[in-house]
């Protein structure tokens, strides 16, 4: 069975690039082009998506804010949907910090096909 991934990314080219990679890797995907839309889509599709790739620096609502709202709104299932931060900000390239902000992992930009694959497989295994 293939997983469904929600890609929250404001930059159209980046979003296109990630979705192309997901398609290449055989994943289904949904898109959101800012934090606010990301929250909306996560709540709407909460029972259809298995994972969220969340950009951090976005207009309207940042990934950080979006995650905290998603976490408070989605109490069931308790652990919630895994959310992976996708960012070039080195401050976020720290697993402990990312987890303290409500994320389950981090994927550093630039995103490569191999690292996207290994990250998704790790979530799938968990």
């Amino acid at each position: 069975m293939s997983l469904s991934v929600l890609v929250v990314e404001d930059d159209a080219q980046s979003r296109f690039m990630v979705t192309e990679m997901l398609d290449e890797l055989g994943y289904e995907f949904h898109e959101a082009c800012n934090g606010a839309e990301g929250i909306e889509r996560s709540l709407d599709l909460s029972d259809k998506i298995d994972l969220i790739l969340m950009d951090i620096h976005m207009p309207l609502k940042s990934g950080d804010e979006a995650v905290s709202e998603i976490r408070t709104s989605l109490q069931d299932p308790p652990k919630g949907i895994p959310i992976i931060a996708v960012t070039a900000d080195t401050a976020w390239h720290n697993r402990d910090y990312v987890q303290s902000r409500g994320f389950d992992g981090v994927l550093s930009k630039p995103v490569s096909l191999s690292r996207l694959r290994s990250t998704l497989e790790a979530v799938r295994a968990a």
Partner: protein
């Protein structure tokens, strides 16, 4: 003139004034004491001289007294003669009686009766003379008695008051006293002489005394010429003349015709004597009174002088004190206090921030110099305030521009990376597509170019953040064994990347006593290590790269990570520059060897941020050696920020 010197001068002046006052006082006290001493010393010789003068005066009185003797002797002789004549007549009468010549006898009897009457008269006369003499002596004694208390008065006064010849009226007073006091002893001598005369009736003795009297009379006549008081002299001269005449006449006295003259002479002489004595006495009393007044005046003058001097002395002391205090007050008020107040207000103005031109003080003394210094301070403060303002403005500007730079860099970071991210990912997707090999190669080179740009961007941002000290430090216990593995992997990877695996030998060693763990930010340590290894590989074409882990040579326990290569080396004068941002040893190197030149600067800053340091040791042609020192436990006041 300086204030110090002015004050010194004033004090000297006051001291001179004080010394002059003391010397003057001492002089006046001394001279007053001397005046009193002179008065005292004059008393004794005064009495002696007065005594001598008295003697002269009374010698003439003695002579006057001898007149009585002469008169008496003449009368006695006449009486004896008459008695002898009477006896002769009696004998003749008796003889005539026997011869019975009654006529002749009658005449003789008449004569006899005359002689008897003469004798009786002479006897009466003689007794009268005795009475007159006694009366004269008594009068003399009374006169002397009158003089005596006056004399005593005088002596007492002389004792009570001290007279110096120097005092006003002193000299004449002393002269008069001399005359008066000598009266005393001579009066006594005359009394004695009179007593002697009364007790003797022998003719020889009388003659002897008469002779002595004449001698003394001559002396008196001579002494009289020395008397200053003309009136007194003539008064005394009259009895002296009478005396001489009496004495000379007395030797031939005997005829009855002399009786009346003699008698008269006695009376005259006696009355003259008494008169002279009375004159003497009244003169003495007058003089004594005058003298008492003069002595009192002298004493009063002396007392007034003493008092005047005391008053002058006190006034002088007061004036000197007021003068010196005034001078000191004037100097302190005018030269010190007023001018210090100006300095004070100038200083206050500067302290209060009022930097308007300060008040000037004339002169070149200490206070004027202090005021100039204060004015310099004001000017310096003005300049400093302007500089501080400029500095503040510049600092604010620099901070604003730094903040702007930081914001710009953050923005750039995000804005540039985002499309790069898409470019790199999309190139990668194209690479994996089923396309001709030539197209694939184009995609690979596009991806590599994007990756290079991404890497450069990351370093520029890191360097910028480090300079702003905005890098968070996240410490954890790092196993040195794990670090060693990481170093080995990185070195191999870097050599493989630059295709130098065959030409460069690599080794990673760990000393036995290396600390097992280090509390530090592992990600930063990795970043530094990657930089050092990347540099070593890039600048070493052949030879060896040796990495070692060992205990650091530092006071605190530390880890030393050394990367040693056999590359081209670095000149020692470039050691400082290589750690500065955007620097390489030679601008041309960048083009040949690649690299941004930021790696070492970032590494050095990170090492310091971690509480350690990055050191270099190198020589041209002998390779380079970079050592990262990391404290086993970070010191509490490190510059690194705890996240």
């Amino acid at each position: 003139m300086s204030i110090t010197n002015k004050l010194r001068l004033a004090v000297c002046g006051v001291a001179v004034l004080a010394i002059a006052t003391v010397i003057f006082s001492a002089y006046v006290i001394h001279s007053l004491g001397k005046d009193r001493q002179i008065l005292t010393e004059r008393q004794v010789p005064l009495f002696i001289e007065v005594d001598e003068l008295n003697r002269d005066t009374f010698e003439e009185l003695s002579l006057a007294a001898s007149l009585f003797v002469t008169g008496r002797t003449g009368a006695d002789n006449a009486l004896v003669e008459l008695t002898a004549i009477s006896d002769a007549f009696t004998d003749k009468l008796e003889g005539l009686d026997r011869f019975g010549d009654s006529e002749f006898t009658g005449e003789l009897l008449v004569r006899q009766e005359n002689i008897q009457r003469q004798i009786q008269r002479l006897q009466t006369l003689s007794s009268n003379i005795d009475g007159a003499r006694d009366a004269a002596v008594a009068a003399l004694a009374r006169a002397i008695d009158g003089i005596m208390p006056a004399q005593e008065f005088l002596l007492r006064d002389i004792e009570n008051f001290s007279i110096a010849p120097e005092t006003p009226g002193g000299a004449p007073a002393i002269a008069r006293l001399r005359r008066l006091v000598s009266v005393d002893s001579d009066v006594r001598a005359i009394i004695e002489a009179l007593d002697e005369l009364r007790q003797t009736s022998e003719k020889g003795r009388v003659e002897q005394i008469k002779y002595l009297m004449l001698v003394r009379l001559r002396d008196i006549t001579f002494a009289l010429t020395r008397l200053e008081d003309r009136e007194l002299r003539s008064a005394l001269a009259r009895p002296v003349t009478s005396l001489r005449r009496g004495i000379l006449d007395g030797t031939t006295l005997g005829a009855k015709e002399e009786e009346a003259g003699l008698n008269q002479l006695f009376l005259d002489t006696t009355s003259n004597l008494v008169e002279a004595l009375n004159e003497q006495r009244s003169a003495t009393v007058d003089l004594v009174n005058t003298q008492r007044l003069e002595i009192a005046e002298s004493s009063r003058v002396l007392n007034v002088r003493t008092q005047l001097f005391n008053t002058v002395l006190v006034l002088l002391a007061i004036v000197a004190t007021l003068l010196s205090v005034s001078i000191l007050y004037f100097i302190i008020e005018r030269q010190v206090a007023k001018r210090l107040a100006i300095v004070d207000s100038n200083l206050r103005n500067i302290t209060a921030g009022n930097l308007a031109p300060s008040r000037d003080i004339a002169g070149s003394d200490e206070i004027a110099r202090i005021n100039h210094a204060v004015d310099s301070l004001r000017l310096n403060t003005l300049v400093r305030e302007r500089l501080e303002k400029e500095l503040r403005d510049k600092t604010a500007l620099a901070e604003a521009s730094a903040a702007a730079k930081s914001n710009f860099l953050s923005m750039m970071s995000h804005e540039v990376r985002t499309p790069l991210n898409a470019i790199m990912g999309l190139f990668e997707l194209i690479e994996g597509a089923d396309i001709p090999e030539r197209q694939k190669r184009r995609a690979v080179n596009g991806r590599l170019a994007a990756e290079g740009l991404f890497e450069l961007l990351s370093k520029v941002l890191d360097a910028a953040r480090l300079e702003e000290e905005q890098v968070p430090i996240d410490r954890s216990q790092v196993e040195t064994g794990e670090l060693q593995d990481f170093l080995s992997g990185t070195l191999e990877g870097a050599l493989a990347k630059h295709s130098k695996t065959d030409t460069v030998t690599a080794s990673v060693e760990m000393a036995p006593d290396t600390p097992r763990t280090v509390l530090t930010d592992y990600a930063r340590v990795k970043q530094i290590s990657v930089n050092l290894i990347d540099n070593a590989v890039r600048f070493t074409d052949s030879g060896a790269i040796k990495i070692s882990l060992a205990p650091g040579v530092t006071p605190q326990p530390s880890l030393a990570l050394t990367v040693r290569d056999s590359g081209m080396g670095i000149p020692s004068d470039q050691f400082k520059r290589i750690f500065e941002s955007f620097q390489q040893v030679d601008g041309t190197i960048t083009r040949r060897q690649g690299g941004s030149g930021l790696g070492l600067a970032i590494s050095k800053n990170l090492a310091i941020l971690l509480g350690g340091d990055l050191l270099v040791k190198s020589a041209v042609g002998e390779g380079s050696e970079f050592t990262l020192i990391l404290p086993v436990k970070p010191v509490s006041n490190t510059k690194g920020m705890q996240s």
